[in-house]
Symmetry: C2
Subunit: 345 residues, 2 copies
């Protein structure tokens, strides 16, 4: 029997999550043995993905609970990850396969709906396994679908991205440059500002924490206004962006990290701009677009190989680092995509 | 020389507009004579349209001023209307033609951009001239474009319309029934409730003023949720609708009358529902779609002739009734499309 280290939710979370909201413990219930006749798979988790949406699943009785399956106190945290198949009762997978998809924050997971897992067909020197938590996984797909399919960009348009050095934002900015757009990003530190300007090729960037007046900042960096806003933060930034949208602009609502810890969001006041400026504001679930994964994968793999797209990751070591890595998302501590490395193989 | 009675704006308006915010006076500056060599037209105004958006043009220094041309204190109120051409320097129009479009709240208007006017080609017993302020004019076109083009309805979907007995709402509800949707409307009085249920064929209706909890009301009347919300009011209703949207729903933002008189809107708090429910929220300007007017006109004229669409109007008599008719929009006094009859021909 193998003991299985796990990260569980202590209790529903109010406000900003703390490390102590999660507990790391060892379960003596082995999952490495597959139940007789099951079509489940047993996965050894290698890399776990820290994603802002997980914060929502820690809150009791929000609308999120109806649509996403929230965590319950005492249960293992669920999220996206990359793993290795240890045993399989499913014809699609065999022992030794690498997979990515929804798994548990634990060393080994029994996955009872393996149909939802993606088999990883490709890794090499420039495509490490952990890319499937980010650039080639859910966040990469979110950037791709959100920018190209929801944003419907045209060459020469003005694009603004918030949380621009994050798992999704850094890709959106680079897509925008490849499309021939003018792109501005906001982030929270000098280091991230430098990444945006010098590594990802954003035309301009600003540190929103240094701006008292976001409306003025947006008017300074995007005097012509904004055709596409890729929104990762919601809240005050979104409200000020509304004032700066151009006619027929699009707001791609990918996430609203600034609001996840608030019991009562600030509230969006400039919604009449949607009418005056004929703006389309649209949310999406990347999961709805998974049938397009092959198209996305081929495009992204070419971009990676040709060096057209770079990706910055922030990898913490060991399952024990999970809680602190996760809460770091909400203080902006991570630089790039936050990953927890659980095991090397 | 003909004296020209006019309605002017006294000063910028704060809060709920009052009759005294507008002044009815007689100008001794004749406009009936066309300037030599001008390609303008002189129009005798017959019917003027009271539309909620006009309230916005009475406010100083909002975003609206940048995009719409707001009124300035002392100037004649502008709005949509139906008139008769008295003199024309433009090849498209001749004396005696009937037209609709943007005109002044006065007996005679000199219209210097007559290209923007629509010539009225058709009137008869079932299509009176004043229909071009409503069902066959801008509000009718807004209902048509908003519902069919922005809402993208499908048979069997659940549709909710606010301000449902108004100039636009009553048409949206009837379009939804013709499309085979289930449609619920909200309005402010028993009389309007009866119209929705008994005249326009809404499946259900409620008086929002009698509901303490709009979320509960929406869940009661639309337990399956809402696929299309045709929003004429914004504010609290919109925020509660967000909680009740179905996945992949559409919010057509036509207007936000509940917010026009507020210095500080309440603020939309449930915006995360846009993501969870993959909702598209889209504002539009009917003017952008005027190239589709012939398609709209043919459709609507058939509906009117076949008795498939009814239209309720509230016509006040005389230019002097303009200010009180206009402010009645904001207390819900009007029943159906509010029109001011200035002259019969």
């Amino acid at each position: 029997m193998v003991r299985n280290k796990q990260v569980t939710l202590r209790d529903y979370v109010n406000g900003v999550p703390k490390e102590s909201d999660m507990i790391v413990l060892s379960s003596d219930k082995s999952v490495v043995a597959l139940p007789q006749g099951s079509n489940a798979v047993v996965v050894k988790n290698l890399y776990l993905s820290c994603d802002p949406y997980m914060r929502h699943l820690m809150t009791k009785s929000t609308e999120a609970h109806v649509i996403l399956n929230s965590y319950s106190p005492g249960s293992v945290i669920r999220g996206h990850g990359v793993g290795k198949v240890m045993d399989s009762g499913h014809p699609k997978f065999k022992t030794g396969d690498f997979v990515w998809g929804i798994t548990g924050w634990e060393e080994y997971s029994l996955i009872t709906t393996p149909e939802a897992l993606f088999k990883i067909e490709h890794t090499d020197d420039v495509v490490p396994l952990h890319y499937y938590t980010g650039i080639l996984g859910m966040p990469g797909m979110a950037a791709y679908i959100g920018f190209y399919k929801i944003g419907a960009p045209k060459k020469g348009e003005y694009v603004f991205v918030s949380a621009a050095s994050g798992a999704v934002g850094q890709l959106v900015g680079q897509f925008a440059k490849l499309m021939g757009c003018y792109v501005v990003g906001s982030a929270s530190t000098k280091q991230k500002f430098d990444l945006l300007k010098n590594k990802f090729g954003f035309d301009a960037a600003f540190n929103y924490k240094e701006e008292d007046d976001l409306d003025a900042a947006l008017k300074r960096y995007l005097p012509q206004g904004i055709d596409i806003y890729f929104d990762n933060v919601g809240g005050k930034m979104l409200d000020n962006v509304l004032l700066n949208m151009r006619n027929h602009g699009r707001i791609v609502v990918s996430g609203m990290i600034s609001e996840y810890n608030l019991e009562q969001p600030d509230g969006l006041k400039n919604t009449m701009c949607l009418v005056y400026k004929r703006v389309r504001m649209e949310g999406f679930f990347v999961h709805d677009y998974y049938p397009l994964y092959p198209e996305f994968f081929d495009t992204m793999l070419s971009y990676i190989r040709e060096g057209k797209i770079l990706y910055v990751e922030d990898i913490s070591q060991g399952l024990e680092s999970g809680p602190s890595s996760f809460i770091g998302l909400f203080t902006g501590r991570n630089v790039g995509k936050q990953i927890v490395a659980v095991a090397r193989e």
